[in-house]
Symmetry: C2
Subunit: 139 residues, 2 copies
């Protein structure tokens, strides 16, 4: 029944990489980041550990942005801004819906919401300057 958890150098490095950045990385980003120090790291291992961490609440998913799932090492309640042009994600630590809203909505509609997520979409400062979107933004 019980499945033991063993130490692993790469697992540790993967979690440290996520916690050490505020870029809300994708699996690929973590992989590229760690390759210099861990030349034999495999992308599959990154994916397996991301799933491992998420299942245990050590990280959370910010959702799929421009085709790639993005992760966040901060699990405290906060919101995100997501750039429609370059896909960058910014934390909005001050902006967080109250837990009472989640409870009230659950009661009102008859489901059991346990989490609530507030995302803003638009252009980040850098892309505002460059005005460099070739096509219509993605959403």
């Amino acid at each position: 029944m019980y499945r033991a958890i063993r130490y692993s150098k790469k697992r540790e490095a993967i979690l440290a990489a996520i916690r050490g950045t505020s870029c809300h990385p994708s699996a690929e980003w973590v992989y590229q980041q760690l390759r210099p120090l861990h030349p034999d790291l495999s992308l599959g291992t990154v994916y397996r550990n991301l799933a491992f961490f998420r299942a245990r609440g050590l990280i959370q998913s910010v959702g799929v942005v421009q085709g790639q799932e993005r992760f966040d090492g901060i699990t405290a309640s906060h919101s995100h801004f997501i750039c429609n042009c370059c896909g960058s994600i910014l934390d909005l630590p001050d902006i967080h819906p109250e837990a009472s809203l989640t409870r009230a909505v659950s009661r009102q509609y008859g489901f059991a919401a346990e989490r609530c997520e507030l995302n803003f979409y638009g252009l980040c400062p850098k892309c505002m300057d460059q005005q460099n979107f070739k096509e219509e933004p993605l959403s």
Copy 2:
């Protein structure tokens, strides 16, 4: 420069399918739904028209749920509840962040947010009854 838009029976049917349901369908759902009446419909056409409608603001994306992008024929401001177990999406018409929040956040952080999205995650009434999740929920 200007690209003409022509009438197409299938395009019309695809938009009608999205507007005629509250299930927030995926491309595959639309395809399966229309196949009986349009046996020669192609999945590629569904994808192309979904992109077409979204670029023109006729539909919007609810995001990727359990690996599939989901769409919404309602573009007025409202929120969603997403079931971590079965992936169903429910509209919360009463719950919508005020436009003033988007403006205030943009000013505070220095970007240009044009849209804001509030999602709740948990178990829908059906899954609460069945308690039928085999693994840890997805997020």
